[in-house]
Structures are given as structure tokens and as C-alpha cells.
Symmetry: C2
Subunit: 336 residues, 2 copies
Amino acid sequence: MATIRDVAKLAAVSVATVSRVLNNNGYVNKETKEKVQQAIQLLQYEPNTMAKGLAGKKTETLALVLPDISNPFFSEVARAVEDVAQLYGYTVVLCNTDSDTDKEQTYIQVMKRRYVDGMLFASNTLRAADVLMLNKANIPLVVLDRAPANVPCLVVRSKNNEGAKLAIRHLLDTGCRRIAHIYGPQETATGKERLIGYEEAVRSFPWYSPTLMEPGQFSIQGGMAAAEKLMERHPDIDGIFAGNDLMALGALKKLQQLGIPVPGRVSLIGFDGIELTRITEPELSTIAQPIYEIGATATRLLIKKIEGVQLENETYECEVELMARGSTRGNAEAGR
Amino acid sequence: MATIRDVAKLAAVSVATVSRVLNNNGYVNKETKEKVQQAIQLLQYEPNTMAKGLAGKKTETLALVLPDISNPFFSEVARAVEDVAQLYGYTVVLCNTDSDTDKEQTYIQVMKRRYVDGMLFASNTLRAADVLMLNKANIPLVVLDRAPANVPCLVVRSKNNEGAKLAIRHLLDTGCRRIAHIYGPQETATGKERLIGYEEAVRSFPWYSPTLMEPGQFSIQGGMAAAEKLMERHPDIDGIFAGNDLMALGALKKLQQLGIPVPGRVSLIGFDGIELTRITEPELSTIAQPIYEIGATATRLLIKKIEGVQLENETYECEVELMARGSTRGNAEAGR
DNA sequence: CTGAAAGCGCTTACAG
DNA sequence: CTGAAAGCGCTTACAG
């Protein structure tokens, strides 16, 4: 492998000059530049990223920390992150935490010693101490969904509460009169906020009861189990709002197994807008977040921060959108 | 950030000694070792990975090149790769190629200059020249599914031909008498081999016709379109073998939209065994590859190669397994 | 506009 | 068992 020294020798200049044309900074005479570029061509020279990183204090690497890449929501986010990163010349390192605090700690340490230029957190276990530590280590940070309390940091998130209310209004509008909720883990901001949105939207109704709420761990299995319990407990339920699409998918499957027509007898709506909502028959109505946009925006913000743009430590809230499809009444023919 | 120098000073030894205890190589007196470890503790010292990489010629980084992380098959693979890598102290860099040769070339260059310790290719566009180049650059390589012709390299793959035949046999066993095939891109090994397996299994039947084969691009959309065409062209089809699960999922959706009972009138089977095959009702029968195992095995082999273990450039073939579930006849109650 | 030199934070023979 | 020193391949003030 050719080094910058070889190029310098061949072009009969100093390594400093080669470095200048390489990075396009500092003045360099046009002819000199051409000589250097020819040498680079000839030697097929490619700069060593590590040496560059060590000398220049930049690695052009981003760490993406998420619970599980095989969860379709996060793989869509990851795709967006990598696309944008690639556009700006950054490389993405993948970290699966399984929402396990220990694993997350390990990764934070590992990424710190790798001197990643920035971190993107889409995991729920980030604590205030971690944020502080990263600040101290001078590693820019963008958090998805949830900021630890009392520490300033950049957050990109969706309007969960509003989305939940949108879901309930849609179910009411399409004739539902007894609406249950399958909720996600209450340690997560998304799980909690959507549950609160549901409660706020329905608690004034005479039919409201806490027994209309059932946890589903944000998973397909959890959604199936929750739907089964709910229908057993309240056979007159005619609408279900699931806190994410995975649980809604599980609920749909269970309802179909039980022979309960969707949306004929029970309307069903999820939250997130992952691609999978389109693979079932009927297609799943959902409150869609702009998943790709969230990942892309977060990455752009992170890169800006890395490149020294002063950003307020604010929260970027993304709009959510009702996708009325086959699984809610009046939309059986929609989305085809 | 403390450096190795700070540690050396505090422990009153040389940096060489610190390096030795850090890497646990070379002799070092027990008491000295303890002194050093205490200093490390005190200073909260963490070695700089880049400096280590530059000096030691190792980055402990693996590049994972795949078409698209948001494809569930690849996100399952990625999860396995990262798990194993993490276990051995390696970090994984993500590269989405969209099966685009240009993007792939770019990534190969970028990863080369980053001096990744090894590459895992799960993309179909790898060419013989690339393999040779990586060999020359001394970057160990493991390929998933497909090896370019005429160049030695390590390949991990599944028994596609055999799997296709297993699928056809299952359809025949459960009473199908006219079986169609939705096939994947013929530039891919998987797409091609499964199509060949299908042809070999059915061509001796009197009902066989080339018009029973329809391309579906390995996608849900493609699967839907293909299923529609097939049923229009041959309304008497009573079994469909799709070359992957995504296309099978698309076919299932289309059949349900058309009001064609599955498996009542048409039995359906996919290939891959992704998790999504369980979310539909009926669940999808499929020829399962051990996806996680494939990713894990490939990563272990790659790490062995990196660590200097001599490996034959052979092909590791994984077994496939018939998962008979609700979408094929006689299994309507299976898998619940 | 260009070069010499120091330095980034490690590892690794080589002496001792 | 331990240290001095060279070197990994770059960048970046500092002179000129």
C-alpha cells in the first residue's frame, strides 16, 4: 500500500503539500496540485483512515445504538442513518443493546475508545449520567424518542400523545364504542406517552375501564396474548388501539384465529407505520411516524453538531399521520 | 483523556510495560502488573483504538456488506453477525449496497482505507476482480450465498436446490397437482438455484409448463404481481412455491384479496424462514434456512481467518428444513 | 505557496 | 522481566 510519503516522493513535494491537496485546505499552486494528483493516480494511493483519525482527531465514524436491528422499526431507522451518513462521508457502526443497560454501558465505553465522532441513541436505557459522560468526552449525541430527565440533549421524536388521540378519534369516527388499548413497556417514552394519550382520550366515556388496557411488550407475541385476554375479558370490545404496529399485527393474527372479523366486529389500529402493516390482509390502519425521516433528520443533526454548528439542545418533534386502511371500519376497501 | 504515557508515569514504569499488561503479552512481573492496573483504574484509562490500530495493524472492525438492512432476512443476519463480533471484541460497520455495483465498489474502497480486519459479503454483486483485490490487500473475506466463479474464497450458503425440491415434494405430498413458481432475480445464486430446483422437480410432470414460472424480484410487491398473473393465466393452479418468503407473503396477500382460500384452493410455501412468516393467518409454510446460524457461522469463520487460522477456501453448506404450517394443505391447524 | 518537524497514542523488536 | 527508541501514516502550526 502506498503511503503519503510515496506520493510526496513521486511528486517531488513534501508530505505536507500532499496532505493539503488531499484535504483541499491551505493554499497550493495549481501545477503542484496536478503533479500530486497524478502521483496519487499512479500509485493508486488511498489515505489510511486510522492515521488520519489519530493525527486529525476525527474518525468519520458514527455509532448507532439501538435495541435490536432485527426489529423492523429499527432496521428502517438504521437504513436512513446509513444513507445519510454515507452521503456525508461517515461510516456507521452498529450496536444492539437488547435494551439492556449493561450492554449499553459496554458499547458506550467501546465507542468512546474508538473515538467515534458522534453517537445516535435509539435505545431506551440511556441515563443522565451517560449523557453527561459523553458530553465530557466531547462526543456529540442525538437521542431518538426519549431524553433522560434534567440533562440537555438533542432529541428527535414523534408526537406520541397526539398520535394516540388521533387513533382514538379515528376509531370513534368509524363507529367504535368500546375501545381497548394494548400498551408498550412503560419504561419507554413511546409506550408511556401513547398510553397516556389513550387514557386522556377515553376516560370521560362511560364505558371506560382500566381493564381495557393490557400490556403487549411491543412484540407480536405480546400483542397476540393481550388481544386474547382483552376479548375474553370484554367480548364487546369493538376497537383496539395498539401502541405499536408489531403488537397490532399480533392482535390481528389472534383475532383472525379466534374467528373475529376485522374490521367487521373489531377495528384495529397500530402505531409507527412500518412497512409490515401492508403485508396483512386486511392491511393495518396505523398512526404513521415518518420513520425514515426521523433517522435521516437525527443523522443530519448529529453531523451538524459534529461539524461544529451550534445547535440548541432542543427537541425536534415529528408529525404523525393517520393511515386509515383495511383494519378499521369504513376502510375495508382502502389502500388497495 | 488519559494516555498510556500518563499511566506509565503514574505507575513509574515505561509505556512498553503498560502496553504489555494491557495486551497481556510478554512477561511482566506480578507486582509491576498490579501497579499498572491500579494506575489504569485511577486514571480511568482507556486505550485509543485508533492509535492501537495504526501501530498494531489491527482495527478490530468488520465490514458487513449487504443489499439492504431493512430487508428482514438481512437484518436477522446482521443481528447474528454483530452478536458474534461483539463476543470476540470486534465492531461491525454497516454497508447497504442496494445490490448496486457502484455502491459496492465505493464501500470496498472505503473499507479498505479504514483497514477493516475483514469483510462479510451478503451482496450479490461481488465480482472476481474484487475478491482478488481484497486478497491482495490482505483483507480476509467471507461470502454469503454466492462465490464469484473461478476465484477461491470462503462461502457460507444453504442447500437451495435441495430446499426447492423439498418444497415441491411437500406440495405434492399434500395433494397439489399443478404447481407454479415465483422466482427471484436470476443474477442471484439463491434465485437461480431455487428456480433450477423447481424445474428439476416438476419438469417430468405432464402439467409442467414454462408459463408456470413468474419473476417476483424477491419482494412483496413482486410476489403480489406474480401471483395475480399466475392465477389469471392458470386458474387451476393449486400450489405455489415462492423463491423467498417476502414473495410468498405478497402472494398470500394477493390470493386473499382475490378471495382464493389458502390453503383451501391454493397451497403456498416460501423459502428462508424469516420471522415474518409467523405473522400472517394462516402462517406461512416455508423452507427454513438457519438464518441466525448462517450469520454467526460466517462471522466465526471470518474471525478465525483474521486471527490467522488456516482455513481451506471451501464452501460451508447449511441444511434447510421444511416448516409445514397453515398455508399448505393438511397443515391448517399446524403451528398454532 | 511550500517544507521541516513535532506530534497524535499506541506496538514491537532489540538490548539489557 | 523492563526500558529506550523507532515507527505506524497522517495533520498542523510555524517558518520562510
